[in-house]
Symmetry: C2
Subunit: 539 residues, 2 copies
């Protein structure tokens, strides 16, 4: 008997087994699993009522709130495709995505109404704009709010046997550091199996509460819609990161787990009010979104009294690929454990990883040899929306090519050292832009630095540094180059330095090297400008 | 990206992630995951070498040992179908199964050689008989033993992409209390998803050891081949149940989990040497195979210092459907908890259960109304081997009809009260044979009792008791009927009693009511004799 795999089953199961249990806490509102499931079914009914057809894309522009969480189930129940949008994207990017995906509905929060007002006339496919939280008089909006839509709708639930597990359930656009955003298609099966494997990758109690510190619209956060539902956990929503509010919620809602990017973790452990809160319920903190450090892992563990480890994943992998927790059979002690837990980690169940050289041969598992990470897992996307060539390129040979460069060691732990397209090839030598950037950041006057490849007659390409100086800081180009030479092999050092007011960034805060490179490569061939594969390393 | 779901992935993953970790302990032998995986790959190579083709059935007649565990992966790696045989079956039953399944190979342990010798000439399809443990001079055996086959073989591993997740991986014959054994076909997908859901149904640590107290060839035991492998646990094999040996293994191998049938649990907690062992590693005991009692659950928990709960499943469901542990959101205290944990339990993740009346309508969830349990899950079999009509009947309407009768309560916990075909319908009243048997067993002189329906001119059918008296016990038929009348409603009491030396039983110890009924129903229509659906309630 084959039952279609779909995350909708998670909420159905929770409704059957835990109807009265608290499912969602969002500000002053609390919903049981019975209410959560009812609202998701009403959203499905409401979408059908306004005319949404199976396969239609339904976009959400929202901070974390219970309504966005409901969409992860209700939109799929209606047979439609959920398209969560990153609220930090620029208007042009949002308009590009909504038009490329041909979304027919856009749900938005009141505070984002002005943003959408600036580009809604450019949206060719959106038939309905619906307010999530408040009434608003803008003429292009539906008169009903989301809650009114739910109130007037008949709950709708499809027979599970009618779902097609290989159909697209969610569409996420990658943030596009190297090209236009691409739409990553995740199927019902991708999401179902990802959630099961992710749940198996760590020990949790059966009566747990998870705090949604990371936006659900972000790779790092969306997986969190499913696993806690499958397990009957309490979802606790936070719309913005405020250390005091996080500490209060951990205490009041007895939070067991949460995810943080390193900057959030630093803010939390350095919060002066810290000791006033009872954090004993906290069992683990997952660090993602950027490289971590052993000292941060140690500080989080010691101050928050929990386990702290990293994870790695991509938009294309639904997202989790690794955990850096200590695997069965290892006996890490002291610093070794913090170093291990700050690494990129090892493949969670269901995931296979390889680290390969340019000829697709595995590099030595010696913690030194660098290669590209390839992944094969049930969570790997069906492909890019309307981009069959990019899909074939990314999935060539049956493995997702991540574009991330890493070492791996004998225990199977990988450590990301750079993005493939951020490697500068100068005179046949590979230069990690990350390594040079780290060196520049060690200079007391440097606030931000990006190192890119620029064309060179003799070496093909050479590294160039783009630097933002700290307020009051003073340094010139030759001093910075000299500073690098005292710390790095000569060929790795920038040949030139340019000082900027700020670095261009994506909505998720990543430096847009694509934009930085453009001016130096105009009229050249495309080397160094764009790579056909783009993923967001996000966990 | 769809990666075929197959349990072979569990061992591949363990090989990648825990190569040096202890995988299997079997008597004095210990194997790492690297060695376990190597042996499974060599078994696959050896099978191909002797001529086994993809899809062939490969039978094993063996007590629990590392070789039988290897077969759960190696046979599938070769593309063949594993057919584990219950060593307690009669020669006729074994011959029936091997011929019906057309097994081409039979692996057997030395101590079972005499048994096979008695029927091997009746086996039409078996080309190769191979000794698992010792050399034996029987002329019908391959000269090579299993270990010699492995030594001379080239390890063989298929590309995972070549597996067909919907093909049959394992074939298990149900024990046949009501008809000839039926071959239950479990696909690679059935087994993979069952293992993931079963793993999610309980909290375990990541560095655990599981003791295989239940034979792997039994429904109650085979699921245990997969989940511990997926999680990188240590498998500890025991071939026969000996309380002292069990206690020693729990202590020496730091066992965290094990399964017991109630009779084993009683023997264990009453073992006089009990207090001499350090059992602190033990975290949970799963009770299955027969109904449990609150007092036994309490005794196991208090004496073994662990959690103890029941489970329920069928050969047809791969097997686990329920756990009786306390679900998230409940707050059982004291006796309420023991009663709950002794019940049949609630559906584990991935499983949907219903309890329905004769019109397939859900009965009230009041803990009183009785109906048949229907199940829908990823573990439900593909069907019965070469029995399409029985398959269609069992899976009608997209739900497996278990034939087990139960109540369910508001919290979603079910409690099995009887087998459907063991219900006696007398004058329009339903009589649970189980209830009458329990009453008879309460008489101090009764050792065993079976209650069956016999034909009656006036009432259609009436209950008859077949009783085995304890050594030295004295009781006659009218005394027993009077004993029942003092405890049960009149119509439920046996109209006649027959005293037997013993009751006919299956290889798994279930009373063969089919055989008992035969003599009373000859020449009648088939009511009460056979039901087209047969499952073994086994966890």
């Amino acid at each position: 008997m084959n039952i279609p795999l779909t995350p909708v089953r998670f909420l159905r199961y929770a409704l059957q087994q835990y109807p009265g249990k608290t499912a969602v806490v969002c500000g002053p509102e609390r919903f049981s699993y019975s209410q959560f499931a009812e609202r998701a079914a009403r959203l499905a009914g409401g979408l059908r009522q306004i005319g949404v057809k199976p396969g239609d894309r339904v976009a959400f522009l929202s901070l974390n709130c219970h309504r966005l969480l409901e969409a992860y189930f209700g939109v799929l129940e209606a047979g439609a495709v959920l398209l969560p949008l990153n609220i930090r994207l620029a208007p042009d990017e949002l308009a590009f995505i909504l038009n490329h995906a041909e979304a027919s509905v856009l749900f938005l929060q009141n505070e984002l109404c002005g943003l959408v007002d600036s580009f809604h006339q450019r949206l060719s496919a959106v038939h309905w704009f619906c307010m999530l939280d408040h009434h608003n008089q803008a003429p292009w909006l539906l008169p009903q709010t989301y809650d009114e839509l739910l109130s007037s709708a008949t709950p709708y639930r499809r027979d599970i046997a009618e779902f097609d597990e290989d159909s697209v359930a969610e569409l996420f656009y990658t943030s596009g550091t190297s090209a236009n955003p691409k739409g990553v298609m995740l199927t019902h099966r991708n999401i179902y199996l990802h959630a099961l494997h992710a749940a198996l990758s760590r020990e949790t109690s059966h009566d747990s509460a998870h705090l949604h510190t990371i936006p659900l619209f972000h790779a790092n956060g969306w997986g969190a819609a499913h696993t806690p539902t499958l397990r009957g956990f309490k979802h606790v929503m936070t719309s913005r990161f405020d250390p005091l509010e996080i500490l209060r919620l951990i205490q009041d809602e007895r939070i067991e787990s949460l995810g943080l990017v390193p900057a959030m973790a630093i803010a939390l452990v350095n919060c002066p009010e810290f000791h006033k809160y009872d954090l004993r319920s906290l069992r683990w903190v997952g660090l993602g979104g950027a490289a971590s450090s052993p000292s941060l892992v140690r500080e989080v563990e010691e101050k928050l009294g929990c386990q702290c480890y990293s994870g790695y994943g991509l938009t294309e992998t639904a997202p989790v690929l690794t955990t850096s927790s200590m695997k069965p059979g290892l006996r890490w002690e002291g610093e070794q454990r913090f170093t291990g837990q700050a690494s990129t980690g090892y493949a969670i169940p269901g995931v296979e990883l390889r680290v390969v050289d340019a000829n697709d041969q595995d590099v030595a598992r010696d913690g030194e040899a660098v290669g590209e990470i390839l992944a094969r897992s049930d969570g790997v996307m069906k492909g890019y929306w309307k981009q069959p060539e990019e899909t074939a390129e990314a999935l060539r040979g049956g493995w997702l090519h991540t574009g991330d460069l890493a070492t791996w060691n004998q225990d199977g732990y990988i450590l990301i050292v750079d993005r493939k397209k951020d490697i500068i090839v100068s005179g046949g030598e590979n230069i990690s832009s990350l390594e040079v950037e780290k060196t520049l950041l060690a200079h007391p006057a440097v606030l931000e630095a990006a190192v890119i490849a620029v064309p060179d007659q003799k070496w093909g390409e050479v590294p160039k540094a783009l630097v933002v100086v700290k307020p009051g800081g003073r340094v010139n180009d030759s001093e910075l180059i000299e500073f690098c030479r005292s710390r790095l092999t000569h060929y790795k050092c920038p040949r030139s330095v340019e000082f900027l007011e700020s670095l261009p960034k994506t909505g998720t805060g990543k430096v847009l090297k694509r934009d930085l490179r453009k001016k130096y490569w105009q009229g050249q061939n495309t080397i160094g400008v764009a790579s056909p594969v783009h993923q967001e390393s996000s966990m």
